[in-house]
Amino acid sequence: MTSNRREFLKIAGASTLALLAPAILCPARTRGNLSAAEQKSSLLHPLTAKRWALAVDHAKCSADCTDCITACHRIHNVPDFHNPKDEIKWIWTEPFSAVFPGENHPYQGQAVQKMRLPVLCNHCANPPCVRVCPTKATFQRRDGIVMMDYHRCIGCRLCMAACPYGARSMNYRDPRPFIAGINPDFPTRTKGVVEKCNFCEERLARGLRPACVDACKQKALVFGDVENPQAEVRQLIEKRFNLRRRANLGTKPQIYYIL
């Protein structure tokens, strides 16, 4: 049969698209669906960045939506103790006056007064929690993510005192009995250690975006490498006015709120 280069390229392109279709159409792949070989190979294509950041486009959030919270807490086995004293949360919503203290005033419109913004660890470029940790159980990776090493944490809670954003939670008791449906692909934590959002570094290692980003149907959360001028998150924060929380403290937080 005769075929020329153009035909060949058409067939090659179509085949590639067909192979990629499952990956594009089903982004919420969990590890359980993959064989061991596939899991291993996904590790060969991690997402990398010079500095990971998240932009929150609040205009796109729908009222009372908690999809990001549910997704994060489910896949990371975040317990629910049903009491605010022992509460553990990695991502949650707060009113405008709490997220930007001092910026609220009585003449701020109802839209702003009632606004609820998602808050999480800011993965600061200059994190005070990393500075104070006596064992380096909380440390900063080269790609900017502020990580927790639950094996090394002694539970002194100095990081909780140091965090200007209240982003960290302590396991004051054993969390296992309080996790509704344990995700077997991610460990739980144990009593006596501090935990917080990890920018889904275990998903980034497999080429997946953070769970909250994927779970948001409105695409209000934009995640990417803020030091890459081509990245969507960088272009978004260059174009639209945005604020970071308590930026005057010099922590250089990497969550940008588009307002």
């Binding site: 100095l158 140091a162 006596g192």
Partner: protein, 397 residues
């Protein structure tokens, strides 16, 4: 010399028994805490440090106060303090041991405590705190013990002790400065982010520590047969008076900055302390009690006729100790968390288990202190008890 702690009358052994029972009770409650987790305490996501760290902060001050005896005697030859520097050093050792115990019971994963040494983090002030506290413990226990044994053998102490004692003077200042730095360097806690944190700590330390020492000296005169001498006690009382005055002054200047600048971030914490926030007033009665006690004690210590009477002096010292315990523990540590970085007011209520463990650690501290002081009194009794004053005068310090 340790065997001297094993000789005592009925009062002595009953006191030891009570302390052991309280310590054992605290230990049982600690086992419960180990099993359940720190959730047995009143600490929460917002107020993540409570009674344990409050005690640690206060006791580092008491430990540092030994310098108030060592400095006048060894640097300025103030002879009146010669007999009691060892008391200060032993008190320092006890206080440091209590500090370490309080940090230990506050850890979520105490079995991993060696990670601080296995994976040193020089940027962390807690790491340096561990180092300086351990060093201070070693310095004081060595110097206290060596000097006491030299006195017992009626020989001058070995020459290498002197440099160690001189070292303990800046070291004492450093332990409390570094503890203050744990708080004063945190960008997110506006209540603590003030340069006066370290001076405030030192001032209240030099008031509360010597106040406790005065009480212990009065106690030793009553039931230990050891007289520190009214000159030493009065000198200590004057030190307490000045330090208390400075401490009160520091609190007042803090109040001025907060309330004159009217910056909400700074003023809110003080408002919570003295008036309550959003109707939450847990600490208000405590703070006013502390203020009243401090002022009353200052009056009692400043007026010489009152200061010279042991009854008034004892009351004043108790008032100082309690007032500063409230101010430094509850008033400083807890308030840093209220309101939280997200502007919410979560109050802190210690639980029974937490209080039992705290009292248990205090009992262990008093137990160690009793043993040390029993040895001291027995040794001094052998020297001062000598009817011949010349024997006592022959002791070279």
């Amino acid at each position: 010399m340790l065997e001297k702690a094993l000789k005592g009358g009925r009062g002595y052994w009953s006191w030891i028994a009570v302390l052991l029972i309280v310590a054992a009770t605290g230990f049982c409650f600690y086992l419960r805490q180990l099993d359940y987790g720190l959730g047995v305490t009143g600490m929460s996501r917002d107020v993540s440090w409570g009674l344990y760290i409050a005690q640690f902060t206060f006791l580092v001050g008491v430990a540092a106060s030994a310098v108030m005896l060592v400095l006048p005697y060894y640097l300025h030859d103030y002879k009146a303090f010669g007999k009691i520097t060892i008391l200060g050093e032993f008190l320092a050792v006890t206080a440091v041991i209590m500090c370490v115990l309080f940090i230990f019971v506050d850890l979520g994963q105490p079995s991993r405590v060696m990670n601080v040494l296995l994976h040193p983090a020089p940027t962390s002030i807690l790491f340096w705190d561990m180092i300086v506290l351990s060093g201070y413990l070693l310095i004081n226990i060595i110097t206290g013990w060596v000097i006491l044994s030299s006195q017992r053998n009626e020989i001058p102490p070995p020459p290498w002790v002197k440099p160690l004692i001189y070292l303990s003077i800046p070291w004492a200042v450093s332990i409390h400065t570094i503890t203050a730095f744990i708080y004063a360097g945190l960008p997110g806690r506006s209540f603590w982010l003030t340069a006066i944190m370290a001076p405030r700590f030192l001032a209240s330390a030099f008031a509360s520590g010597p106040a406790l020492l005065i009480l212990l000296c009065l106690l030793l005169k009553r039931c230990g047969g050891f007289d520190a001498g009214s000159k030493a006690v009065q000198a200590l009382a004057k030190i307490v008076a000045y330090a208390l005055a400075v401490s009160i002054f520091f609190v007042l200047v803090e109040l001025f900055t907060a309330f004159y600048s009217q910056i909400p971030e700074h003023a809110e914490h003080f408002r919570y302390l003295f008036a309550g926030l959003e109707g939450r007033t847990n600490l208000v009665p405590w703070m006013w009690t502390s203020a009243v006690l401090a002022l009353a004690a200052l009056v009692m210590l400043i007026i010489p006729p009152l200061r010279r009477k042991e009854g008034w002096l004892a009351v004043a010292c108790v008032a100082v100790f309690v007032s500063l315990w409230i101010e430094k523990g509850l008033g400083l540590v807890i308030t840093g968390f209220i309101p939280s970085p997200l502007q919410s007011v979560t109050e802190y209520n210690p639980t029974g288990t937490e209080i039992a463990i705290t009292v248990g650690v205090w009992a262990i501290g008093f137990l160690i202190l009793t043993l040390f002081y029993r040895i001291f009194v027995a040794v001094r009794g052998g020297i001062d008890g000598a009817p011949d004053e010349k024997a006592a005068a022959n002791i070279k310090y």
